[in-house]
Symmetry: C2
Subunit: 320 residues, 2 copies
């Protein structure tokens, strides 16, 4: 059993707090992708729910615990939307702090779900600081993605579903930003399916957690430069890195061109609109076909919240 902050029994218990609309998501072989990638690809699809990302799994747990109270979170967009959704039905007063550069679609949905949205003139890590200030000022709960164990254990329920999968697979590709799904799914894999390689994938333009994992100490960066807005953090959280070191078999960095190619492949071969973070796994295969050749690989498609005009530009040119 991996030595992290997470606990399998609590992850199993978390399932009972999570609305079924976020659970038991599709897991299916997508043979149309195989020829391009040189391996057998399965997709775990986390976008067919009311908030179009996996984040509801964690926010359902948190909102269950905080019902009737107030909370604030920083968000790249998906956590905020999910917390707003989970909070709305439970009388949880939600404030979300986000970058004003976040995709408008994500910000619009947060507002539509009746959360208070505060924008900062900076990036996600500046939003984190502001959210902490608000929590201190107002004396309300600060929800911190990947630091709060419920976010990781909520994401870990994806791992339970993967571990139960009928068809064996050799590796799971997980988008890496702050480390929520990587530590959550990674913990469950190591506990219940230790033969599955846990590979985290981060953009070369936002490499802080990967660099930290490699050096086994927190490495921060001054800036980020990636279209993968959902994973663009600069300041890894030490406790999350500690967990990641226990459960990740590898952390790889991919180029922007590969992320774009991944977006296009998922659209053209699988008919899936996804956000760049959700294409990281495909990008990793594209960059290292030999590693995955003839293996069965699961990639978690973690979100689909895109600004459609931007998305049209990303996928505008057909595949060669």
């Amino acid at each position: 059993m991996p030595e992290t902050r997470l606990d399998i029994a609590r992850i199993r218990a978390a399932r009972r707090l999570i609305h079924p609309v976020f659970l038991d998501t599709p897991l299916f072989r997508c043979e149309a992708l195989d020829p391009d990638l040189g391996c057998a690809v399965s997709i775990k699809l986390e976008t067919a729910n009311p908030v179009r990302s996996f984040k509801g799994r964690g926010t359902e747990v948190i909102a269950s615990l905080l019902a009737g109270q107030a909370a604030v979170c920083a968000s790249a967009g998906n956590l905020g939307q999910a917390l707003a959704w989970s909070g709305r039905g439970r009388g949880l007063d939600v404030t979300v702090v986000a970058s004003r550069f976040a995709p408008a679609a994500k910000l619009d949905r947060i507002r539509a779900l009746d959360a208070t949205l505060e924008l900062v003139d900076g990036d996600f890590d500046m939003a984190r600081e502001r959210a902490a200030d608000i929590a201190a000022r107002d004396g309300i709960r600060l929800v911190e993605d990947s630091l709060d164990i419920e976010t990781c254990e909520g994401a870990g329920t994806i791992g339970l579903e993967l571990a139960d999968a009928a068809a064996p697979f050799g590796a799971v590709l997980i988008a890496l930003g702050g480390g929520t799904p990587a530590t959550g799914v990674g913990h469950v894999m190591k506990a219940l399916a230790p033969g599955v390689e846990v590979i985290c994938v981060q953009p070369l333009g936002a490499p802080a957690m990967t660099l930290s994992w490699r050096k086994r100490r927190v490495v921060t960066t001054d800036t980020t430069d990636t279209i993968a807005d959902g994973v663009a953090g600069r300041r890894p959280i030490p406790a999350v890195l500690d967990d990641l070191l226990q459960v990740a078999d590898d952390a790889v960095l991919v180029q922007e061109a590969s992320i774009l190619a991944g977006l296009r492949l998922l659209l053209e071969r699988a008919g899936l609109v996804v956000e760049p973070s959700a294409a990281l796994g495909i990008a990793a295969i594209l960059e290292d076909r030999d590693r995955f050749a003839d293996r069965h690989v699961v990639t978690i498609v973690c979100g689909s919240n895109v600004d459609i005009d931007t998305y049209r530009r990303w996928v505008g040119s057909p595949l060669p």
Copy 2:
């Protein structure tokens, strides 16, 4: 209990023959669509599986019964792909007859799944004739969509899942072509959730079954003219019409412009790539907002197999 050829006990039993990858598909509220449509919309998503349509539910039942034998079917593309998938794992030798004008993506997938593909220089109803000839010549089973009760009862398992839904809804919108999901889902709704209005939606450019339903006798057309290739039939089957008369509360015809608008809305608001048949429900709401105002409506997103370049043209211009 509606008096059709279908049977609830057999539909429940069918679930046990169907690979789980086709069952318990996502059903979720999509609030981002509500403002455009003036009602509460939920999506039943049948595209997140290996064949990107609901047809696997029926072909799993058929292939279970025919394991080790040979079968031929006519198909607009999705049935053939699904029968090829279901047959491949069961030693069922599958021949699919399709129009050479069917989407290349559908034809390519049928070939990739090891089925024999024969093309006719005509439409779906010509493919039906050819498939019948092949079955007679070779003495093999002719699988006829919507006439073979397994196809309808397989589709009926969608209805079981809708009837079990936690949130009550007032109407279900079902694409209408030959009548497979309409009679299957319709039968289950009338049996288990009789308060739900069953509304079938067909393109104005391929109206044969709707005209037949209205006149209560088979009406054929000489041609079809619609982008919704999956429902473009000219010759309704009498036994299927009889069933449809028992379970459909309404059958409506929609214009091509509305289907295009539905495709765009599902892309831009819901992040879903769908084929035109799967946008018929949204098209119906767009054409009659008053009818659906403030109601909770489920639309079955039945397939997503598109030629991507054609799809790009359909959704190329942003919504106004």
